[in-house]
Symmetry: C2
């Protein structure tokens, strides 16, 4: 069937989609969400069809941008359109839906078609849901990790060992990476760190780092920075490392499921050539992993998956029941990290966590007294100088000072209504407040704590300050805080946690971050 | 945030979708596929957002038709847009994803949001996939059935009992309903039959009936026909009975899964007020249900679900290894059914199956010798006269003759290359050929068998004829048949079925039809 091209001007997020009039679709015999092969001057694209009775007339084919580009057509060109079968990978997805274990070849086919945009939203959603429902064993996790590496870019460095660290996330204010990378690099070891932006949190490491320097590098620029400075802190999103994961996460997030957690993390590490890796598993109420037992089980899987991928993994189960440090929000956190590196601020938990993780990495690479070496690199100012080298190499201002980092000038400080102690901090509610104030999109927005759990507080003393760049957003955050606070104070722990009067409905607050 | 309305002219299949520039979406803090509340002059709509960096500029909001209509805006109107939470039903879907059993209230909420267009494709796909993976027990099947009835139209008739029949499908050429309805109605009982169009088959009952009369009636017209004639054969798609099912099936079909089979069928029966129901379960190779044991298990579930919904159900497990009758394709089948009703053609298996099922229904309504009554209604011509009454009431020509039904004039007859017997017919391949020839969209296209399994055949005798309305489509079907046939002949059954030389890959041919 010959149809006339019409441009829709819409993007489908990498997928190849065309819109046909229902008449034409029926005539071709294509079922809803079926596929057609479109040919034009020797070029061919297989696209998923949407049908309409309104916008597209009989004889016309509406093209999303992806298809327009792939075929290189002009509006009005006549395209040859015929029915196309589902790709083989759809059969493999159906097998997984029946509970069958997938082979590497099958997984590779699914991942390849995902990256190429050959699978519909429904097919990808079904695949991810089936992985969640039936689970995936370590063989499948290994297959997925390798397939995701194979279908993306790979960073090649001529040095060994390559170190890396990763946190599974879930703790607000965790700017540990901003310290670990310069500490490791200052000790002469290589750490090509990629990070994500926030999805549901108030700041991802890429957001934090961006307050100090450009982070949207391509893979060649990243390689140059690492070769020059031993380290880098760049945004993973522009590198096309394990790109399938970015597509899967678009399904996982609205469903709050995360079956690909392990392959997702490990494939990105493998893609930068990591050989020694520390995985940080924050643990406790308000994090993803509630108990140490759960954390240990997850650690076991990371270690075993690493073994299969040729990556030596150690895990650090860390305390996650309150933010790391005092600052939550991209610019506030960048400020805090820089201050600690410069020795201008005392933030014991942040310094401790960063040197613990750096210490484990140093020990893994064969040094002794890793923790002491890490502390020394931090204390001596060597880590600070290294960070400035990295900032410069990534195109930022190496002379930046904490006060140069712009934070929001709309502020409100909450003060304690009584004397006593800080008893608890509700992590996820704190994040919600920071996001209402504008984080992570408004880099200067967030929350600065003045007290943390266990701290003594007097009536009228400041507990925390909310920062925003826009008055309306500050107002929005404050309205939430009028209802209830995320920081609890009192004389002593109260023994009654919660009364249950009827069947409780639990709303799981999920923080997906990789 | 105030955004200027722009019309996209696209339909989203009932869903409320808007397109924002990525900048604005980030500014609102809406995650990908998150939701916004849009207000305009007292009207409010919650819509799922897609983002773009191309088509929609900052400050503009692109509206799908559904949203445009609901808000009743003009292009350029300023709309108030704010972030909206996920509907509660998304939490319930997440619970099902974790394997939790759903209560009636939760199911109702999910079904209601599905019908209202409040759920994204991904959320619906995840729900259906989770139902498939974890299964649904009879409590959940009952809840789904009731919820699907509650959220759609209901047919109210002032008479009892209401009879109905349904086939789970999978056998080509099954025009049984075209005989059962007039037989039952001729016996003075009420049978308000709704049918579906083909999805993956060569003809649905609605397609077959449409070759005889209009079938796209609304519910009021349907009621009038039934009150006048005791029966009807109308397309279910325009009646808005259990409309959630039509949305779920859009996800089930591309995935070839069918977890909602029972609630889907039973809700549509409940919605027309059925009290006595026969479910036909075609059984055997090439159908959905391969063995009698499987058929009995499915029958048990239908009977129990019926009991919970107040419908008395009996099941008929029927032979399904070859087409019913000789004709496959809408017009060819309508012709065959009409000829049998008129006593002009002998099609023993069709007449037998129709009178068996009608007989069970008559027995269920308290008559004795149901089978004999059914045979008598058919033989006497009373069923034929009743069908003509129904045709007239639905707006068709009551004097129609088989030869008036137009079938395709592009034809090709395949002849036997040897003498012997017809040993097998490959149902799904036959359907594929009929579809390539144009069925069901081209009503006159299809396949007419001249021989069936067990029939003696001489060299050169016709085996079957392929019908098409268009030469190109006939050619397409013939090319397929050049590769291999769907009808096997030979001297005797060959004992070696199939050699297995390497790990076999099975491709399950699924026929979803309700």
């Amino acid at each position: 069937m010959r149809l006339k091209a019409k441009f829709l001007g819409l993007e489908a997020g990498g997928k190849s989609i065309v819109v046909l009039n229902k008449e034409d679709a029926d005539d071709l015999g294509v079922p809803p969400l079926g596929r057609v092969k479109i040919s034009f001057r020797g070029r061919e694209v297989t696209a998923i069809i949407n049908t309409t009775i309104l916008l597209i007339h009989v004889g016309v084919i509406g093209l999303y941008e992806e298809v327009r580009r792939a075929l290189n057509v002009e509006e009005g060109d006549l395209l040859e359109v015929e029915i196309a079968p589902s790709p083989t990978s759809v059969h493999f997805i159906r097998n997984k839906l029946r509970g069958r274990k997938l082979t590497y070849e099958e997984v590779l086919e699914i991942v390849r078609d995902t990256v190429k945009g050959n699978l519909s939203e429904i097919e990808i959603a079904a695949f991810v849901t089936a992985l969640h429902s039936f689970g995936l064993d370590l063989d499948e996790a290994t297959s997925l990790s390798i397939a995701m590496v194979e279908t993306g870019n790979i960073l090649k460095l001529d040095r060994h060992p390559i170190l890396d660290k990763h946190s599974i996330g879930g703790v607000p204010g965790d700017k540990t990476t901003l310290l670990v990378v310069p500490i490791i690099a200052a000790c002469g070891l290589t750490i090509p760190k990629t990070s994500s932006r926030a999805i549901t949190s108030a700041a991802g490491t890429a957001d934090r780092a961006e307050a100090l320097m450009p982070v949207s590098l391509n893979i060649e620029e990243m390689r140059e920075v690492v070769e020059k400075t031993n380290g880098c802190i760049v945004w993973g999103g522009s590198l096309y490392l394990a790109p399938a994961d970015d597509i899967f996460v678009r399904v996982e997030h609205p469903l709050s499921i995360d079956p690909l957690l392990l392959p997702s993390i490990m494939s990105k590490k493998k893609a930068v050539g990591a050989e020694l890796l520390v995985i940080d598993i924050p643990c406790g109420r308000g994090t993803k992993v509630k108990t140490i037992g759960e954390a240990d089980l997850l650690a076991k899987d990371f270690i075993e998956l690493g073994r299969r991928l040729g990556i030596k993994v150690q895990c650090a189960v860390t305390y996650g029941e309150q933010p790391v440090g005092y600052a939550v929000g991209p610019a506030l956190e960048a400020r805090e990290a820089l201050s600690v590196l410069m020795g201008e601020a005392e933030v014991p938990d942040l310094a401790d966590k960063a040197t613990d993780i750096a210490g484990i990495l140093l020990n893994m690479s064969g040094m002794r007294n890793g923790k002491e070496l890490a502390v020394e690199a931090l204390r001596s100012g060597r880590a600070e100088r290294k960070l400035r080298e990295i900032i410069e190499a990534q195109g930022g201002d190496p002379t930046v000072n904490p006060s140069d980092i712009r934070v929001g000038d709309r502020r409100f400080t909450f003060r304690s209504e009584r004397s006593g102690y800080v008893l608890w901090i509700d992590n996820s509610y704190l994040v919600e407040v920071a996001r209402l104030a504008g984080a992570p999109k408004d880099k200067g927005a967030g929350v600065l704590l003045h007290k943390k759990i266990g701290d003594r507080v007097k009536e009228g003393e400041p507990l925390f300050t909310v920062y925003a760049e826009k008055a309306a957003k500050l107002q929005r955050a404050l309205s939430m805080l009028e209802e209830r606070t995320f920081m609890g104070t009192g004389k002593r722990m109260e023994m009654l946690i919660h009364e249950v009067k009827e069947r409780p409905v639990t709303k799981r607050a999920f923080m997906l971050e990789r």
